[in-house]
Symmetry: C2
Subunit: 169 residues, 2 copies
């Protein structure tokens, strides 16, 4: 039987087995530059294996991906963390499973952001390739500058359906 | 006599002695994730000295800083690059001088972004501490996770005034 998953609200606590949440809402801040700025420090650590550097990309959605959305494959990056930070206020959905050699479909979880959050997948976290709910959405990406392969994929035994979001049903 | 500087338009060519411009406007893109996204690759390299990692912060302006703005000090980070990427569309101004032991005031230049650009200061680039033209503006910051000192400052012989922007004069 096809498995359905519903997205939960993204929070740093719920997401902690999979990565970091980059947000200002719940973090303690200090100030800098003569108190011109609040500073929300160390929201994500860029975890890179070896002497390689991190690189910064921007990706922009060409089309909207509509929910419900069926997928059968997850991926992971064994050599580095990978951050996605929206460059304007919009909601997005991520699907994750714990690190490990295999993915057990019963372990798959989905999270929906609140519009002001970004995420940083820990090295090795299984995740669905990025989708966007609208066209033209831009994400900043921070990941390892790899010349060697840094993406494993895992095909599930049966497709999983990411259901429509609770408030858009 | 007090020196005045006017901000030039930020472009990757003009800014190249000082750092990278993180933008999608002028970059060639490829596509990814089954052509769901345009990808603007390697817009900035995170240049970190030693085995330390990069960290991600968010800073949010408490107040607007108005122009003209007088400053007398620049800073540099000898151990790593430092990126500032607006988390929504807004214009900001950076002031820079080339790497070196000293700053010659005649070498100071200012750049104003077009609203959709971020920047990454190269390691060692002298720059004015960040200012924001409005309150509540959020920047993503990517820099070295330093336990050791990583900020030199240089006091100019005389104050420099960053003039009002051409289109807001």
């Amino acid at each position: 039987m096809t498995k359905h998953i519903q997205a939960e609200a993204l929070s740093s606590t719920a997401f902690s087995p999979y990565g970091d949440v980059i947000e200002t809402q719940c973090s303690a801040s200090d100030s800098m530059n003569d108190r011109r700025f609040d500073r929300f420090s160390d929201l994500a650590s860029v975890d890179i294996v070896g002497p390689e550097k991190a690189m910064v990309h921007v990706v922009r959605s060409i089309d909207a991906t509509s929910l419900p959305y069926e997928f059968v494959q997850l991926e992971r990056h064994p050599l580095g963390s990978q951050a996605f930070v929206p460059l304007s206020e919009f909601v997005f959905v991520v699907v994750v499973a714990p690190p490990g050699d295999k993915v057990d479909a019963t372990d798959i979880r989905a999270f929906v952001s609140n519009g002001g959050q970004g995420i940083n997948y820990h090295r090795g976290t299984w995740h669905m390739p990025l989708i966007a709910l609208s066209a033209g959405q831009r994400f900043l990406v921070i990941e390892r500058a790899s010349t060697e392969p840094n993406c494993d994929s895992f095909k599930l035994d049966a497709p999983v359906i990411l259901d429509v979001l609770p408030d858009t049903a």
